[in-house]
């Protein structure tokens, strides 16, 4: 419990991530699009190391009934965290699981303070 310094802010540049063991839990911190995010490294599916997965995009599709056309687009490049075990997808900024909307990665408050990255459990 409490506050943990996980890195110097300069060690975590835009697009970087790190995984730290804090009070017996693996917590990952991402710097993405100028923001910091801290998530438990534990996939809601079967406990895989989700935060070590690729940041990728995903397909989204819409159907236009009038035109009878499906349009398929590859979106959200770099925002979708994909668990390396079986591919469950999570939206990085919100932690929301894309296939099970009621599931989120457990998250922790994280901030930059006096040149450090600080996670509060």
């Amino acid at each position: 419990m409490g506050e943990h310094v996980v890195a110097a802010a300069s060690e975590l540049q835009e697009g970087d991530r790190l995984v730290a063991e804090l009070a017996g839990r693996e917590v990952a911190v991402f710097r993405f699009d100028g923001e910091l995010y801290a998530y438990l490294n534990w996939c809601a599916h079967q406990g895989g190391p989700v935060c070590e997965g690729a940041l990728t995009g995903t397909y989204e599709a819409t159907y236009d009934r009038e035109a009878n056309e499906v349009s398929l687009s590859w979106n959200r490049e770099g925002e979708v965290l994909m668990c390396p075990w079986h591919g469950w997808e999570y939206d990085l900024p919100s932690g929301e699981c894309l296939s099970q909307r009621s599931t989120r990665l457990p998250s922790y408050p994280v901030e930059e303070r006096n040149g450090d990255v600080v996670v509060t459990l």
């Binding site: 079967q46 406990g47 895989g48 159907y63 009934r65 009878n68 499906v70 075990w85 079986h86 591919g87």
Partner: protein, 359 residues
């Protein structure tokens, strides 16, 4: 079939029967066709093709019933079974008609025949229009054409004979027409040539791995299990166990009970068996847990495990394949729902038994 007209608990209820079939003689159907189809369909060759000529009626020992006219249907189904509203389909095997234009023409003829000879005859009768899946545009037009008919309530689609899997975007015109007219879809398979000849080739048009991956293992296992039972393999080799890997459990309950039912009706086609298929399966067949089904309500997984039986269940991860299950995916259910002894059985003892392991 002897249909009894004495009191049944159903008389008090409103009852809808959603699958009542006709068997329309092609000579009668021909009257609803224009030339050249009228002549063509009087000389059919497609009904007796490869693998359609099964001994369905056990050498004539079980009755081959039909409902040749509206009065007979009313008498047998409505009076005999206390059905208030039969939802009738013409049961055409249009997918086996090799010429697409003929199939489309016959589709219209079947639907007109159904209306004229059945649906118009009794207020209670309702119907499903049939479509030829060879031509989804023509199917959509037919849905439009029939949509003004009050007695038509939905669309009958033979799915084992379609040439493409029925979610293929080619069929969207058909579904859109159905949706526009509030005509809902009913799928029906076939045990004849469509299943043997056309159904397997749908596999060639699967366009995402997910589809093939969901289906490949259980389909193969279903066929294997059925073949083993019908041929009496577990009876021939009573000391031999059979384990089914990589399809999980959820496919098994259907097989247990359907094989029992079919065995009851057609025992002479599986004459080596000395007991019910379910007994063989429970005694000699084992099922590996992976891929664990993921029901929205975890209780349902317990229900499935209970039906298949914890004695028949083996732990499997399938590691290192990408779709492996962590052992805890199964074990957390075992811990939650079962006593320790049962859990130990699934984790090890059943495997020892299934393979005679020396540990």
């Amino acid at each position: 079939m002897s249909t009894q007209t004495n009191r049944s608990p159903l008389t008090e209820n409103t009852v809808v029967d959603v699958d009542v079939h006709l068997r329309i003689p092609l000579d009668d159907l021909a009257e609803y066709c224009d030339e050249p189809y009228r002549s063509t369909i009087k000389h059919p060759t497609y009904t007796a093709v490869n693998r359609s000529g099964w001994d369905r009626y056990m050498g004539g020992n079980i009755q081959k019933e039909s409902l040749p006219d509206a009065d007979t249907l009313y008498e047998k189904v409505c009076d005999g079974f206390d059905i208030d509203y039969p939802l009738i389909n013409a049961f055409p095997v249009l997918a086996s008609v090799p010429e697409d234009d003929r199939a489309v023409h016959m589709m219209r003829a079947y639907n007109d025949y159904l209306l004229d000879n059945y649906l118009d005859e009794y207020d209670e009768f309702r119907g499903l229009l049939s479509v030829a899946t060879q031509d989804p545009e023509a199917a959509a037009e037919e849905i439009e054409r029939m949509s003004s008919e009050e007695k038509i309530e939905g669309v009958y689609v033979l799915n084992s004979g379609a040439h493409l899997p029925l979610g293929h975007p080619d069929f969207d015109v058909m579904y859109r027409a159905a949706a526009d007219h509030d005509l809902h879809i009913a799928f029906h398979a076939s045990a004849g040539a469509p299943f043997a000849r056309d159904f397997p080739i749908q596999d060639n048009a699967i366009n995402r791995f997910m589809t093939t991956h969901v289906l490949a293992h259980p389909w193969a296992h279903m066929l294997t299990m059925t073949s083993l039972l019908v041929n009496g393999t577990p009876e021939k080799f009573p000391d031999l166990n059979f384990t089914f890997l990589e399809a999980g459990l959820s496919w098994v309950p259907y097989m247990l009970f359907r094989l029992n039912k079919e065995y009851g009706m057609r025992r002479r086609e599986a004459p080596l068996l000395e007991k019910s298929p379910e007994e063989y399966i429970r005694e000699q067949f084992y099922f590996a847990s992976q891929p664990m089904g993921e029901p929205n309500d975890p209780q349902h997984l317990k229900d499935i495990i209970d039906i298949v039986g914890t004695d028949s269940l083996l732990l499997a991860t399938d590691y290192p394949h990408w779709d492996f299950d962590h052992p805890d995916a199964l074990d957390r259910h075992l811990r939650q729902f079962y006593p320790e002894e049962t859990r130990e059985g699934v984790l090890a003892d059943n495997a020892v038994e299934a393979f005679d392991l020396s540990l």
